[in-house]
Amino acid sequence: MTTLTTPAPRRVGGGLLDPRQLWKSVPDALRKLNPATLWRNPVMFIVEIGSVFTTVLAVADPSVFAWAITVWLWLTVLFANLAEAVAEGRGKAQADTLRRAKSDTTARRLTDWAPGRTDATEEQVPAAMLRLGDVVVVEAGQVIPGDGDVIEGIASVDESAITGESAPVIRESGGDRSAVTGGTKVLSDRIVVRITQKPGESFVDRMIALVEGANRQKTPNEIALNILLASLTIIFLLAVATLQPLAIFSKAVQGFAPDTAALDGDGVTGIVLVSLLVCLIPTTIGALLSAIGIAGMDRLVQRNVLAMSGRAVEAAGDVNTLLLDKTGTITLGNRQASEFVPVAGVDIADLASAAQLSSLADETPEGRSVVVHAKTAHGLRERGPGELAAATWVPFTAQTRMSGVDVEEDGRVRQVRKGAATAVMKWVRDNGGHPSDDVGGIVDAVSGSGGTPLVVAERVAGRPARALGVIHLKDVVKDGMRERFDEMRRMGIRTVMITGDNPVTAKAIAQEAGVDDFLAEATPEDKMALIKKEQEGGKLVAMTGDGTNDAPALAQADVGVAMNSGTSAAKEAGNMVDLDSDPTKLIEIVEIGKQLLITRGALTTFSIANDIAKYFAIIPAMFVAVYPGLDTLNIMRLASPTSAILSAVIFNAIVIVTLIPLALRGVRYRPGDASSMLRRNLLVYGAGGIVVPFVGIKAIDLLIQFVPGIS
């Protein structure tokens, strides 16, 4: 059944973090302490080196303060690892489900299959032995042994193992619904499949690798951000390292100053120096950066979209132009009756009645929509075929291009016909009628507005046939599309509708849907040319496609989303696959891409803004014994130098673990123009990043000042 409503647009969000997941990831987080892997994250690697150093110092010269700092520094590293482990854990769970689908199957290989041949020799081989180009046969109840294209037959296939969607899908040879995936199950009929994968490189294998992050590579933007974070780390490393001679000098010239836990004759103590360094380097974003990336991919997976690379997800955020297929994306799949236009002298109720009558037996979506419109707009009850006495149904055929019914009314036979304008007009003329000019005018008007006119005519026995009026069939734009396109425009994204319709029809639909531009009578070459033209102007283009002839364009586009129902060629060419085969999802993909970048930017800002409060905590604590005036800088009025430094370190660690859910979920994303987005994020993460640590450090200090040995 076609329904007129589509689900409300899903806003980008994400699954909530299950606290148990944190606990379960602890072993993985501990494993990640291995310096051989941790060095890839320069910021956290520095923290680990610092932790080792303070551990040595704490062992050599134990004190409550030294051990407290040491423990919290180790926790800082651990929390960072935990963020990554949790993000990866979600992918692993997904991969496990997929692996179950990839159970060992036996393939029925046909050794000498040729088109049309039914007596090909069959042999049993394990699915893992299948080679590229092998031909296998699969029958109802069997599992498809590998990825391929149907080359013979039609079958319903249960793809729930991969898509999670329980409704079976139809797969048939030829056309754009020929691709089948290994591990899915044939429910009915028999198909012959040509294998298109190499062993171990099946779609499921790739999915598993992707969601597990096995071959995760840093994306361009991630690399750039890492360079920036590494530079900031070096700057702070310098600032802290070069402080030592200055501190020694200051301590020496202020001879009266007492030795403290922070500063003695040898300068700033190692533990405090490491604490200062760890608090200043951007640990928050450094700890969460890889989790943000993994979670971004994961959010796509949750929406049943597989991105072949993180680069593609990032590119989605940058897209300037969206190419959207009209049918299925912008409009509902089929045209629907939207209006009955009677000719002069005919009552609209009579036209509605005749239109309904002629469509009762028309099982095409268009035909059903006429019945629906008659009911909703004109209050005509749907009459069952049995209610009509001696009715003869005239089904629609490609030759007559008409459907209708012959009924007996008041003892006379009444013929009602509905169909393509030229066919019905001819029928009227053939039956002695003269269609008025009026009909032609209405037909032209409907065509001109982008609709499809169907003419309704009747002939009562003994009288000439006459045209009653016109049914206006039109493409129905999905609910909420106009609003989404408006949003896109505010985000600076241009939407282009691609359709095979003529320019007049295309223009009318484009206007109704509110897209910025359209490409009518589009051939695959036209699409390709459009993409290239946009790209030459420096724009990034996203599109969806399913057919083999979409493959070049999918490969050319910066973000090419292939429908899972499409051909293998299309899936191979795109850099994302939508398992739900829902072209509207392109919009969500763009939002997820943007959200990923915003999350990185927001947490970087937050991380750097945090430093201001930490300075106000640590700097006076370090040097107040030498220069008592510096106590003025202790604006948080922290209890003691040791409690101040420890509070800053604890805050620094806790903020990481507190932000894990945000890193996984992504910051809240509301479409809007650049200025309003920047203003909002700057307020929350910039201003918030300055204020929050003042409050947090003070709160921690209020608690820990009562710990013996700290104050």
Partner: protein, 553 residues
């Protein structure tokens, strides 16, 4: 009129005239650097040097040209000083010592003009005129040329051509620096600045003794000292010497000359990238920081607590009575904000926090408005950095003026930002841990530390102003500060040109509603914030043990 009102009027009139000059002089400079015609005099130079003026250079060649030119300049200036005793007009001075000659050569070629010597007691007129003053022109022109090359990187697309260094250098000298210098020198002479070749006059002093007053070609060197944001004085006393800066109004003219190029270059940037608002935004960022600093320094100097300063209405120690506290504070702020380093009062005598503001001005990286050219390219680097973080927050790969800020661009920008703090901090740390270097310190404690920190900040940021209070004419300081000046000048230039090269290669992304607006108030505020925070975060620990320790009670 109270000192505060007079100081306010002084600043307001400067701002007003600079606002008027922004468009006029900016457009003039834009035409000078982007014209396709060569003057006959320029052609003669190209022929003499053997340069094809219509051939353009990639970033690598451009950078090599800058380095080659500067290397030759350092060598020539070094040799010039070393053979001074055998030259004309040497006033009987001996050859300059090798470490000091190296330091001075580097100092003038890098537009720093740090002086570990006393001009009237070390350099003869010939070295001053045809050695130091020539570099005052050349080093200023090099800075502008590099800035223009960076702007071409933004303005151009799909090319590796950034212009021709030799053409830029010659044009900037011939069309921008020389004409203004000639007019400016005439004005300064009218104001009382001396211009002669006199060797010195013995005069009886009021107290009854006798003093030798050296004359010389001062005005001609003074004008480019300010206009090229050089700052190296003819006399040791620099702009506080009555022969260099005789009156209140010459003081005003000097500040105007200092600020003219740095504040007008953003207009050139706006014109070249085809969006004047972008230039205005950069100028606004510079202005916000500059005005904030000038006001802060004035406030700290005028309201200094303590019996004597309160009685006389401000911290008068170390200032000239003909300028007063306010004009001295304004001069101090502007000279440190612009990488000039000329002084009309003694920064070492400033209040601790006042001195810290002068130091912070340099620590900003000389970007508000900074030196000739170096101010613009430094500010653009900060804008690129801000765009990177802000751009992410609007959900796009960051882009500035249509150019994507990716890994390569961030690499160059980060290296640029890393260079000066590394030089300042490592230099200070080395000096503070070496007993030999500590021996140069005349003041103990926090003030002594401030002096060392100031010296390395000044040299590494190519400012050249001195806090004084330490004897810097030692082998250690001459060598170390020379290295800081050289690395602090040329490493950033290489990174800037590298960035320009990778920007020029890109295809620009067309702007849309989703593009970060880089000319709006929000962005201006954000760059100001990033600049302040990056500086504060880097230098606060060191400042805490210097001026902050001394100034907060």
């Amino acid at each position: 009129m109270s000192p505060a009102v007079a100081g306010g009027l002084f600043i307001a009139s400067l701002v007003l005239v600079l606002v008027l000059a922004y468009r006029l002089f900016g457009d003039y400079m834009f035409r000078a650097v982007s014209s396709s015609r060569h003057f006959r005099a320029e052609r003669l130079v190209y022929r003499a040097v053997g340069v094809n003026p219509d051939g353009e250079q990639s970033w690598g060649i451009y950078a090599r040209s800058v380095l080659a030119f500067s290397a030759v300049s350092v060598l020539a200036l070094y040799l010039f000083q070393r053979v001074q005793d055998r030259l004309l007009l040497n006033l009987g001075f001996p050859a300059v010592k090798s470490d000091q000659a190296w330091n001075t050569a580097v100092s003038f070629v890098t537009n720093t003009n740090w002086q570990s010597y006393s001009g009237e007691a070390t350099m003869g007129h010939l070295v001053q005129m045809s050695g130091l003053a020539v570099q005052n022109f050349a080093s200023a022109a090099v800075g502008i040329a590099v800035a223009v090359a960076l702007v071409r990187g933004f303005a151009r697309s799909k090319t590796d051509q950034l212009g021709n260094f030799w053409v830029d250098l010659v044009r900037i000298c011939v069309r921008i620096l020389l004409p203004v210098a000639i007019v400016g020198a005439t004005v300064l002479i009218a104001g009382g600045v001396v211009q002669n070749l006199s060797g010195g006059t013995d005069v009886p002093t009021v107290a009854g003794g006798s003093q030798t007053i050296t004359g010389g070609p001062v005005a001609s060197q003074e004008v480019i000292k300010e206009f090229g944001t050089n700052g190296g004085g003819f006399y040791n006393a620099n702009s506080s010497h009555p022969f260099e800066n005789p009156t209140g109004w010459t003081n005003w003219v000097q500040l105007f000359l200092i600020l003219l190029i740095p504040f007008s270059l953003p207009r050139v940037f706006g014109r070249m990238v085809g969006d004047r608002k972008q230039g205005l935004a950069i100028a606004a960022i510079m202005a916000v920081l500059a005005i904030g600093s000038v006001v802060a320094l004035n406030a700290l100097q005028l309201s200094h607590p303590g019996t004597v300063p309160t009685a006389v209405g401000g911290a008068t120690e170390g200032t000239e009575t003909r300028f007063g506290v306010a004009q001295s504070a304004t001069f101090a702020a502007i000279t440190t904000l612009t990488s000039t380093g000329a002084v009309n009062s003694f920064h070492d005598s400033y209040t601790s926090l006042g001195g810290m503001v002068a130091m912070l001005n340099m620590m900003l990286g000389e970007v508000a408005p900074g030196g000739t050219g170096s101010g613009l390219y430094g500010m653009l680097i900060l804008a690129v950095l801000t765009v990177f973080v802000a751009g992410l927050m609007v959900g796009r790969t960051p882009e500035y003026l249509g150019k994507k800020i990716g890994a390569r661009e961030i690499k160059f920008a980060s290296l640029y930002l890393l260079t000066t703090p590394a030089l300042v901090l490592i230099g200070t740390a080395v000096a503070m841990s070496s007993a030999q270097a500590r021996a140069s310190m005349a003041n103990p404690g926090a003030h002594g530390l401030s002096e060392v920190l100031y010296a390395f900040t000044s040299a590494s940021n190519n400012n050249g102003s001195a806090f004084a209070g330490i004897s810097v004419n030692t082998t250690f300081y001459n060598t170390a500060l020379g290295l800081c000046m050289m690395l602090g000048r040329f490493l950033p230039i290489i990174f800037v040109l590298g960035l320009a090269g990778s920007l020029a290669r890109q295809t620009p992304v067309p702007a849309s509603a989703g593009t970060l607006r880089t000319h709006q108030l929000l962005f201006i505020g954000m760059v100001v914030g990033v600049t302040l925070i990056v500086v504060a975060l880097t230098y606060l620990p060191a400042l805490a043990l210097g001026p902050l320790a001394e100034g907060i009670r």
